[in-house]
């Protein structure tokens, strides 16, 4: 249904905007008067930076531009090396979750691909240049990503790509450089549990070792030797068993991480632990085993202190309406204390999760991040939450740049602002961890991507924020047609659930709970699957009584005006 709506929009929009890329008259960029943060921990200085043909060619406090450069004013802005997403699914379409039990002859012996074991799979066959996630990540300051296929136990091999380019070959930096592994299984076939996954690893690994060894002998002298006949999955593990390819093992929680370390210890592969969320208690073992760690940027939801009562109702037991809860409760004090105690434990746990980066840094464990679970728009807010728990800017920056580059083995070409490195940089309105920092510009391979930065509307304290619950009609001003429909807001705690319908496609709807409210301003977005790619529809609207107006941007297709009014205004 989502698909139908968005296709209608796309038809309308692309009719107007097809292929209207403005030709770029120069491949030289000169950003001047920008505060340059060349390395994590380096002293920032105001200066200029020159990027030519996708390479940083000069940087310094007083360098001058060549005559044919595009000169960009970086005054009051802060420049950093383009960020590197160490592990992600960027540029790959998420397949539909299929939780059906596959039909196989024997559940104990399913074909590898049915069992989620496809280490031979390559991103080169899955990459989509127009995938919405590429733009989304670029907008958060990312220029390079290691991206891996979706899947279960062994989804496939990762590649390092530039977040720019018209095709995989255009974007690729390192092809098939890593192996991606997970504690995930297909339902009802071996391995159906984590103990099955452990067994499968042990068995496949041993066979890959044996066969790789035999293959080497055969290569040296095939006479009088049986021809090795490995299956695709086993053969794909050869570079892993010979330690030429690291395994990026997704292991969020404490026990998963221990199990991953156990496998690594038993089998001996090069290990990068990814998506870690609860790892501080294992710091010693991490150091001892000398493995790399990628922390998840997906943090537990923030508990809102001031909303104590409503929060408690949400967190605590459901109270039956009209029965318990309304009555005077003489034991309220006792249960309150108990709830407070439990809430405190939960908050402590949440705090510990947010403090993971700081705690690892304190242990001198090098760290970068992984980007499997996190939503792109949460990256910067979550970094700031980590900073509040003590994460320093230099560690945060190194995790986004130099450590990420080192993990991927591209530190010689990316991760810092230095002459000779790839022309990837991000320009922020404020220093990296500043609450007000916004991404103004991202340069990838020397190509400039600029973003409108709106000043945050001042919220007058004490301002009564109107309840916008109810049905609103909207119109979008797309040249040549006017998509319209309704938006229905339903109050949910201190935010809303939203359901959007389109008159162009009656009977279908999209809903989202992902709404940011700031006074009378509201921003929300939802992703849509449209003919093979994910498109993000971003709305930024301001309410004024019974009307609203604002902009809506649709993927790569541009921004349009949107207006709306309350369908059935009371009074």
């Amino acid at each position: 249904m989502k698909k139908l709506i968005i296709l209608i929009w796309l038809l309308a929009i692309s009719w107007v905007l097809t292929g209207q890329n403005v030709p770029q008259v120069t491949a030289k960029i000169f950003i001047e008067n920008v505060t340059l943060n060349t390395h994590p921990g380096s002293t920032p200085f105001v200066g200029n930076i020159l990027v030519e043909d996708g390479i940083i060619t000069n940087i310094g406090p007083s360098i001058t531009p060549p005559f044919d450069a595009r000169i960009i004013d970086g005054d009051t802005m802060h420049a950093y090396a383009g960020f590197i997403a160490t592990l992600s699914h960027i540029g790959i379409k998420e397949p539909k979750e299929d939780n059906q039990r596959p039909k196989v002859d024997r559940t104990g012996y399913p074909p590898n691909d049915v069992a989620g074991i496809t280490p031979e799979k390559s991103v080169s066959d899955l990459y989509i240049a127009k995938e919405g996630s590429i733009k989304e990540y670029r907008q958060q300051g990312f220029a390079i990503a290691q991206t891996v296929p979706y899947g279960k136990m062994l989804p496939g091999k990762g590649s390092v790509i530039s977040l720019s380019g018209e095709s995989f070959d255009d974007a690729v930096i390192l092809k098939d450089n890593s192996m991606y592994a997970r504690w995930a299984n297909v339902r009802g076939v071996f391995p159906a549990t984590l103990i099955g996954i452990m067994a499968k690893w042990r068995e496949m690994y041993k066979n890959a070792e044996l066969l790789a060894d035999h293959a080497e002998h055969y290569k040296a002298n095939p006479l009088n030797r049986q021809r090795p006949n490995p299956d695709a999955a086993t053969e794909a593990l050869y570079p892993v068993v010979s330690n030429q390819m690291a395994v990026y093992f997704e292991a969020e929680k404490h026990r998963d991480i221990y199990r991953t370390l156990r496998l690594q210890k038993d089998l001996g592969f090069d290990l990068v632990i990814a998506e870690a969320k609860d790892i501080d208690r294992i710091a010693d073992k991490i150091k001892e085993n000398n493995v790399r760690v990628l922390l998840s940027l997906d943090l537990p939801k923030e508990e809102k202190e001031e909303k104590k009562t409503s929060e408690k109702e949400k967190e605590g037991d459901n109270v039956m309406e009209g029965t318990a809860g309304e009555e005077e409760d003489p034991e309220e004090d006792k249960t309150d204390q108990e709830k407070d105690r439990l809430l405190k434990r939960k908050k402590e746990a949440a705090k510990r999760y947010v403090s993971q980066a700081k705690m690892l840094a304190d242990e001198n464990i090098p760290l970068a991040f992984s980007y499997i679970d996190v939503k792109p728009k949460d990256i910067h807010p979550n970094l700031r939450r980590m900073a509040k728990e003590g994460l320093s800017e230099s560690v945060a920056l190194s995790a986004l740049t130099t450590e990420a580059a080192t993990t991927l083995g591209i530190e010689s070409i990316a991760g810092t602002l230095e002459a000779g490195k790839i022309g990837n940089l991000v320009v922020l309105t404020k220093p990296l961890l500043d609450e007000q920092a916004k991404v103004k510009m991202v340069v990838v391979d020397g190509k400039v991507h600029s973003y409108d930065v709106k000043e945050k509307k001042k919220k007058t304290s004490g301002e009564e924020v109107a309840d916008v619950s109810g049905e609103w009609s909207y119109k979008i001003e797309v040249p040549g047609m006017t998509p319209s429909g309704t938006m229905t807001f339903t109050k949910s705690g201190d935010t809303y659930n939203l359901e959007v319908t389109s008159n162009q496609n009656p009977g279908e709807s999209v809903s989202t709970e992902d709404i940011e409210i700031d006074g009378s301003n509201m921003m929300f977005s939802y992703s849509m699957d449209a003919g093979g790619m994910t498109i993000t529809i971003e709305n930024d609207i301001t309410f004024d009584g019974n009307t609203f107006d604002g902009t809506v941007s649709v993927g790569d297709f541009g921004s349009f005006e949107i207006t709306g009014k309350k369908v059935d205004p009371e009074n």
Binding site: D317, N318, M320, E321, T323, A324, E331, T335, L342
Partner: protein, 433 residues
């Protein structure tokens, strides 16, 4: 003549030793139990006291009672007499082998089926009956399970050849109060889904009650011939005695908030209720006491329902409620292992309830809850002779029952378990083929 007797006798022996399934017949007659320590429950403990069983009743209690003609005298010196235990919620005799679904007769299809009668499905020959009673359990509630109103429960004595013979008179309609609890660690329903299901069930219960009120009005107004014109309404017919306060509504409810909601509902509707399960009663004990609703707690041998709860809350729960002033009975909720009732009571006793209260919770308290205290629940003159003689404290593991009487029947201390023991302790043939 003699030969014939020997022949029959040997046949009986063979039947017992080889088949090992059928227990010996109970016998009926007047019995005088001499010189026992009598734990009456309601009138204290009497030393060196005789109990006279006649015509199925406790005919007399006293010192030096004399046996008349045809009275069997049993010397109980050094032994103890207790009233038979009552398990207030079981599936005994409604299920033979729980994993074999066709032997299960306690869970009928439908949400609103209060007219399903547990007594109908009681199998008087269930193997578990002798197994249960040899631990001193002489009466049990048999109750259906399932939807909102899964049926009507009955109190039965554990002796008889037909359900009617076993029927001890009490009826109660079972209700499962809408629950907001999770059904297991892998119950992956969202909070909203649980709430929705709970609200839906609550609405249904209220609808039923409104309709029931109307039915009561119509039924009360109808006289003579007009009664015949009332539509066939088995559900409402089954609920009517509850509405009129003739039967209690036996409400399964576990979680603290659900218990509070159930108290409010019961109070609002003015229903005579008994709560069953009530595993979080310890969290709202004062409220239950204040509402004056009796509770059938258990199984005592359970794990806490919350990960953060103290490890022994299930053991301590009956005691906490009793101390708060709630009338507490104890159930096993079991089918084949109802025999563990005294041990459930024993754990409750150990974890705060005390022996005396725990004993009441499986004797006089349930008898009072079910309105049969004139006949059951204590060693009192005139009551039904449901009692046993033991070598000591019946909660203690080493204690043995030596005699068991149900409705005056002298029941052998035998079950499949003892028969198999006798046959296989020293197997013959042994190893040699």
């Amino acid at each position: 003549m003699m030969i014939k007797y020997i022949y029959i006798f040997s046949l009986l022996l063979i039947a017992n030793s080889i088949a090992g399934q059928q227990v010996t017949k109970s016998t009926y007659g007047d019995v005088l139990l001499k010189n026992a320590t009598v734990h009456t429950v309601t009138d204290g403990t009497l030393n060196n006291t005789d109990v006279f069983i006649k015509d199925g009743l406790i005919a007399d209690i006293g010192n030096n009672l004399s046996a008349g003609r045809n009275v069997t005298t049993v010397d109980c010196s050094g032994k103890h007499i207790y009233p038979g235990f009552i398990d207030s919620d079981t599936r005994l005799a409604l299920s033979e082998v729980s994993a074999v679904s066709l032997t299960n007769d306690f869970n009928e299809i439908g949400d609103l089926i209060p007219h399903m009668q547990a007594l109908t499905a009681v199998n008087p020959n269930a193997t578990a009956i002798p197994v249960t009673r040899v631990n001193g359990v002489t009466s049990v509630i048999v109750a259906p399970t399932g939807g909102i109103f899964p049926g009507t429960a009955s109190l039965i004595d554990l002796i008889g050849y037909t359900p009617e013979q076993m029927d001890a008179g009490f009826r109660g309609v079972i209700m499962n109060f809408p629950s907001s609890a999770r059904r297991g660690r892998r119950d992956s329903r969202s909070d909203e889904d649980i709430k929705k299901a709970q609200d839906k069930a609550t609405k249904k219960i209220d609808e039923v009650w409104d309709e029931l009120a109307l039915y009561h009005k119509i039924d009360s107004a109808a006289t003579g011939n007009s009664k015949a014109h009332i539509k066939y309404q088995p559900e409402m017919d089954a609920l009517l005695p509850v509405y009129r306060g003739e039967f209690p509504l036996m409400i399964n409810v576990s979680k603290d908030k659900d218990i509070e909601a159930a108290i409010n509902w019961v109070t609002k509707k003015g229903v005579k209720a008994i709560f069953i399960g009530v595993s979080e009663g310890y969290r709202v004990a004062d409220k239950i006491a204040e509402a004056g609703i009796p509770v059938i707690a258990g199984p005592v041998l359970s794990v806490p329902g919350r990960a953060e709860a103290r490890y022994d809350v299930a053991y301590a729960n009956p005691g906490i409620m009793a101390k708060a002033g709630v009338k507490v009975a104890i159930r096993t909720g079991d089918s084949e292992n109802v025999r563990n009732l005294p041990f459930n009571a024993g754990f409750a006793a150990t974890y705060g309830m005390g022996k005396e209260e725990a004993l009441k919770a499986i004797t006089i308290n349930p008898a009072e809850m079910f309105g049969v205290a004139d006949k059951y629940g204590s060693i009192s003159k005139g009551k039904v002779a449901n009692l046993f003689v033991s070598t000591g404290d019946p909660f203690e593991m080493k204690t043995r029952l030596t005699h068991l009487f149900i409705k005056g029947w002298n029941v052998p201390i035998e079950s499949r378990h003892t028969l198999l023991y006798n046959e296989f302790l020293k197997r013959s043939p042994g190893l040699e083929d």
